[in-house]
C-alpha cells in the first residue's frame, strides 16, 4: 500500500492501484519463477501497475520555473523529526512527474536511462525532474520547519 501511496495522487487512487496490482498478481502468479524473492516480484508488479496508472492519466513532465534550484539551507535534524507518514505526505504534494521520477530513482533504484525508457521521456528530462523534485521537497521541509518553530 505504501508503494501505491507514493505514486498516487490521493488515497482513492492508491487503493485502486493496489487492487489492480493484486488482480495482476493473481492473473500472473503462474509466471512467477522462484529465481528471485516473491516480495521483489510483487513489488515490481505493483510499481509497474502504478506507472501504467500514471501513463493512462497522461501525466505531464512539466517544470515549475518559479522554484529555486539551489538547495535552501535546511537542518538535518528537521528530517529526523519527520516520520514516514510525513514523508509520504510530502511526496504526494509533488507534481506527478516529479513524484514519479523521484520514486523511481531514489526509492526503486532505477537509473535515469531506465526511467527515460519506462516513462518514454528524455534522460535530461528525468534528471531535471529529479533535481526539481528534490528542491521542492527541501522547500516544503523548510516551510514545515518554520511552522514547527512557530
Amino acid at each position: 500500500m505504501t508503494i501505491c501511496r507514493r505514486y498516487a495522487n490521493d488515497h482513492h487512487e492508491a487503493e485502486d492501484m493496489l487492487q489492480e496490482s493484486f488482480i495482476r498478481i493473481f492473473k500472473s502468479i503462474n509466471q512467477y519463477k522462484s529465481l528471485g524473492s516473491f516480495e521483489g516480484w510483487v513489488r515490481r508488479i505493483t510499481v509497474n501497475t502504478a506507472i501504467q496508472f500514471l501513463q493512462k492519466r497522461k501525466i505531464r513532465f512539466t517544470e515549475i520555473d518559479n522554484m529555486s534550484i539551489e538547495p535552501p539551507s535546511s537542518d538535518r535534524s528537521v528530517f529526523s523529526d519527520l516520520d514516514a507518514e510525513d514523508l509520504l505526505k510530502l511526496i504526494s504534494l509533488l507534481p506527478d512527474g516529479y513524484r514519479t521520477v523521484f520514486n523511481l530513482f531514489v526509492l526503486e533504484g532505477y537509473s535515469h536511462e531506465e526511467i527515460s525508457q519506462m516513462m518514454k521521456i528524455e534522460t535530461a528530462t528525468s534528471r531535471s525532474q529529479l533535481s526539481k523534485a528534490r528542491a521542492m521537497l527541501r522547500e516544503k521541509i523548510n516551510a514545515l520547519q518554520k511552522i514547527r518553530v512557530k
Partner: protein, 394 residues
C-alpha cells in the same frame, strides 16, 4: 543537506513503512475479479447477440428469396403447362395444308412467324439475360431464323414450281409437296412449342419482377421517414470498480432521408437515462441517474428486399446537455462526442410502416466528469432499440 543525505532519509523511512489497508480491500479484490469475469461473459454475450442477429437476418433473407424463387418456378411450370396444352390444341386444330396455294402462304407466314419469334425471344432475352450473353443468344437466334427462312424460301420455290405445274403435277410430286408442307407445319409447331412457353415464362417472370419492383419502388420512392424508438440499455463504465452499472433506457426520434436505394442519412434527438450505483465513504451505495440529451447524426447502408431489410448505421452522437440526479458538480454539462454503431433489422408491415430492432454500441470519446474530479468517467452504452418507422408521402 546533500542529495544523497536527502535520499537516505527517504530510503531509510519509507521501505519499512506499512500503510494501513482498508478492511474491505480483500472483498473488493474478489469482487473485482468476479466483475472482470462478468465483463468477459458480457462481452461474449454481446458478440453472440450480434452474430445471432446476423444469422436471423440471413435466414430470413434467404427464406424470403427462396420463397420468391419457388413462386417464380411455380409460375413458370404453370405457364409451361398452359402453353403446352395451348400449343397442343393449336397443333391439333391447325389444318394441315393440303393445297399448294396455302403452302405458299404458310411458307411466307412461316418466315414471318420465325422472325416474329426472334423478336419475341429478343424481348425475353433482353429481360432476363446479361447484355453479352444476350447479344450472343440474339446472334444465334438470328442465324437460326435465317436458316429457317432459307428453308422456307426453298419450300416456297418448291411450292411455286408446284403451282406452276398445276394440274400437270403427278401424284408423286403432290405427295412430296404434301410431305414438305407437313414437315413445315411440324417445324412450325415445334418452333411454336419451343418458343411460346419461354415467352409466357418471360411474361410471368416479368410480371413477378414488375410486381416486386413496384412494391420496392413504393417503399424506395419514399425518401423521408421517421423512426420512433425506445431501448433498454446498459452503461459500461471503465471508471471505477465500485461504480455499479444498472439497467438504463433511451428513447428517441430519428428523421431519415434515403439517398438512392442503399444509402441514407439520419438525424434526430435522443434522451437517455443511465443508471448506476456509487457507494459513498461509509460504503452505502447510492443510486445515481445520469440524464443525457443527445443529437445523433448517422449514416446508413441498407440491403434486403420489400419484406425484410437490414441497415448498418454508424455515426456520431453529439451531447447537447447532461445532468445528474441527484445533482453533483463533478458531471460535465456537456459530455461531448460519442461514436455509434448499430445493426438495424426491419420488417415492413405495409407500404408505409416498418417495425425494427437495432442492437447498438455507443462509444464515449470524452469523459463525463470534470477534470478536477479524482477519476475520469467514460460511459459506453450497449443496448437494443425497438421501434417503428413511418414513410412519408413523396
Amino acid at each position: 543537506m546533500t542529495d544523497s543525505q536527502l535520499n537516505e532519509i527517504f530510503k531509510k523511512q519509507l521501505p519499512a513503512h506499512e500503510s494501513p489497508v482498508p478492511e474491505d480491500m480483500w472483498e473488493r479484490i474478489i469482487r473485482r475479479k468476479d466483475r472482470d469475469r462478468r465483463g468477459f461473459f458480457f462481452f461474449f454475450t454481446l458478440i453472440g447477440l450480434f452474430i445471432l442477429g446476423f444469422v436471423t437476418a440471413g435466414i430470413l433473407l434467404f427464406n424470403v428469396n427462396r420463397k420468391e424463387v419457388s413462386r417464380v418456378k411455380q409460375t413458370f411450370s404453370d405457364s409451361n403447362i398452359v402453353s403446352s396444352s395451348n400449343n397442343a390444341q393449336s397443333v391439333a386444330t391447325d389444318p394441315v395444308p393440303k393445297k399448294d396455294s396455302s403452302l405458299n402462304n404458310d411458307a411466307v407466314h412461316g418466315r414471318n412467324s420465325s422472325l416474329h419469334m426472334v423478336d419475341m425471344h429478343k424481348d425475353h432475352v433482353k429481360d432476363t439475360i446479361p447484355s453479352e450473353e444476350r447479344h450472343a443468344a440474339f446472334l444465334q437466334l438470328q442465324e437460326t431464323a435465317k436458316n429457317k427462312s432459307v428453308e422456307n424460301d426453298q419450300m416456297k420455290s418448291n411450292a411455286d414450281s408446284v403451282s406452276d405445274l398445276s394440274g400437270n403435277a403427278d401424284s408423286k410430286n403432290s405427295s412430296k409437296t404434301s410431305e414438305d408442307s407437313s414437315k413445315l407445319s411440324d417445324q412450325k409447331a415445334n418452333l411454336a412449342i419451343a418458343s411460346t412457353p419461354r415467352v409466357l415464362t418471360s411474361d410471368s417472370a416479368k410480371n413477378t419482377t414488375l410486381k416486386k419492383q413496384d412494391t420496392t419502388k413504393k417503399i424506395a420512392g419514399k425518401k423521408w421517414s421517421l423512426d420512433l424508438y425506445a431501448s433498454p440499455d446498459y452503461p459500461i463504465e471503465y471508471a471505477k470498480y465500485y461504480v455499479k452499472s444498472k439497467l438504463s433506457y433511451s428513447v428517441g426520434l430519428r428523421l431519415n432521408r434515403s439517398f438512392g436505394k442503399r444509402f441514407s442519412g439520419k438525424i434526430g434527438i435522443q434522451f437517455s437515462q443511465l443508471n448506476y450505483a456509487l457507494p459513498d465513504t461509509s460504503g452505502y451505495s447510492n443510486d445515481y441517474h445520469l440524464l443525457r440529451l443527445d443529437l445523433p447524426v448517422l449514416a446508413g447502408y441498407s440491403w434486403g428486399n420489400e419484406t425484410f431489410g437490414m441497415t448498418v448505421n454508424a455515426g456520431a452522437i453529439f451531447n447537447i446537455y447532461s445532468w445528474l440526479h441527484p445533482s453533483a458538480n463533478y458531471i460535465k454539462s456537456n459530455a461531448g462526442l460519442s461514436l455509434y454503431l448499430g445493426f438495424n433489422f426491419s420488417k415492413h408491415i405495409n407500404d408505409r410502416m416498418e417495425i425494427f430492432s437495432e442492437p447498438y454500441y455507443r462509444y464515449q470519446l470524452s469523459t463525463s466528469t470534470v477534470s478536477t474530479f479524482y477519476f475520469q468517467k467514460f460511459i459506453d452504452v450497449a443496448g437494443i432499440s425497438f421501434g417503428a418507422r413511418y414513410h412519408f408521402r413523396r
